[in-house]
Symmetry: none
Subunit: 330 residues, 2 copies
């Protein structure tokens, strides 16, 4: 579970909200299938030169490709879209079907649906850095044991030295990007946050609902920084996140898995809201921490996350893993 997590998070950005989607679909058909219209464009990928497949998943029907786009390093991610219930009638009536095999009551076919019902979600990172390429490269993972002292001596200096850019997070918080994607905002600078769909969710069905709450406070790097003073912030996100998802997507709290990652993929505090039953990458016990547990633990011990040993997987090529190895902690 662990090593599929970071590689599919082009860092929280993604397509628009449901209303907008429906509108666009309509525009497409009015325009004769989207050949023309404000959003159509030339196929920028026709010039993409593949150099390597970084990873792929036959189970999830995705592939991560490294290559060149107009002489720049780029990563292209293709992932087939889920099959929607509301498109079934059209799929059954409008597809071409070829028999593969028949045995007693079982038969299998290859089915070619109408193209507009069978799209591939495509993400382009360009120019891509060495770090992006590493991120999407399939890698073995190792479980690391990090004491509170290890965090101070190994992890924190590493994070600070790397100074990972979270400019794209600031863009969202300042409405310089993705403003139209925001599902909910509490603008309070102390307990407020922005809730928006994760990149991985195309918002066409709630089965794989995936939203991210990004806090307005800019000094909280991760779970390790949380103390009881952050309880109002965490409780506010939990409460308003659940209310918003009920109102907007009609999913009650009993259908949600709400959690933090440790290590996170970027060091600006954010919380994951996913649908229970959807096996979201990174929801495994080795990386995810239920927000409800985090709140209880901080209520019982304000220093819980400062002092506990935390366990998390790191990929073989993660610089932090080398630091743990150098320190003789693996």
């Amino acid at each position: 579970m662990a090593d599929t997590t970071t590689k599919r998070e082009p860092d929280g950005v993604g397509p628009d909200d449901l209303t907008l989607k429906v509108k666009r679909a309509k525009t497409d058909s009015e325009n004769g299938g989207g050949e023309v219209g404000e959003e159509s464009e030339t196929n920028v990928l026709s010039g993409f030169q593949t150099s390597a497949v970084l990873s792929d998943s036959a189970r999830e029907k995705n592939i991560f490709i490294r290559g060149k786009l107009a002489d720049q390093d780029a990563v292209v991610i293709l992932e087939k879209t889920p099959i929607r219930e509301d498109s079934l009638a059209e799929i059954f009536s409008g597809s071409r079907l070829k028999l593969e095999m028949k045995n007693d009551i079982y038969s299998t076919y290859r089915l070619q649906p109408p193209t507009h019902l069978n799209e591939v979600k495509t993400t382009v990172v360009c120019p891509a850095t060495e770090k992006h390429i590493k991120k999407y490269q399939r890698q073995e993972s190792f479980l690391v044991e990090e004491t509170g002292e290890d965090y101070q001596a190994i992890t924190l200096p590493y994070i600070q030295k790397q100074s990972f850019s979270v400019q794209w997070v600031h863009n969202i918080l300042e409405k310089k990007a993705e403003a139209d994607r925001i599902v909910f905002e509490d603008p309070d600078q102390k307990v407020g946050f922005v809730l928006l769909p994760d990149f991985k969710w195309d918002q066409k069905q709630v089965d794989d609902l995936y939203l991210i709450a990004i806090v307005h406070q800019r000094n909280i790097k991760s779970l390790r920084d949380l103390t009881s003073e952050h309880l109002p912030l965490l409780q506010n996100i939990f409460q308003k996140g659940k209310e918003t998802i009920l109102q907007r997507f009609n999913l009650p709290a009993s259908k949600l898995r709400v959690y933090l990652h440790y290590q996170p993929s970027y060091y600006h505090l954010h919380i994951h809201f996913t649908k229970l039953g959807y096996e979201a990458p990174g929801c495994g016990v080795e990386r995810a921490h239920l927000l409800a547990d985090v709140i209880q633990n901080l209520q019982a011990d304000p220093q819980y996350y400062k002092t506990r040993t935390l366990y998390f997987p790191l990929r073989a090529d993660d610089g932090l893993l080398s630091k743990f190895k150098e320190a003789g902690r693996l």
Copy 2:
């Protein structure tokens, strides 16, 4: 996470082997794309009447549908095909592309590939029996919040009344069954345990290593019963389990995910050892508790698991869920 495991097994039906595929594809193109030829046919699914979606997976891009085909009960399974490396060049050059959003170096698109590169594997079971339909039916899950009081008032009486049989566990501990499958035993009646492969693991590769440690003590039902007095037992299992797996399967502790389930599927304490990176069913944060965390929590608070609110998913048809509903706790 758990309930997606069984539903993905259409009983071994499926298309033929790759060689046959390649041969057929060739026949298709010789025949001008398969419009005619021995295997083309009329679209038998155009008359399919959907009555219900039995289950689907946004992650795996599949859907299981119940309905009528020529007046007979039928189940139709659609699953998108994996993206093949050898089709990438044609996908990039021959697709239509629509921009969804752009932020900094990230952009997302909807891509419509050529239909022959974007097929849907289709399985038809017809006539389907009631058993087929049950098999493919997804049970929804709900996240339950169980306080320490809820455990005493709702869960414990339910467990006791059900008196789930754990005779098969006693058979293992007494070597009346599966004795030849035991990988390791510490016979001590206080801190001892038996380690054996889980049924899900065929032991043919370590990629999906899955072992279970069953404690000799018979009075510990679950995580809820654990206090600091059980620390020697838990530490013994953790230590000797890891040592055994290293010796026997050559996997170090840094490649293992060691955890308990709550709720467990049987009420005799047992601990799961799975390979890190293998997405074992039930390793999600909503059901799994890392043994290392359990030990730390009990060291800090001997009553941790007696007093904390615990969260876990229950399937819609679980009798315990009804009890929580009757008590107004959902």
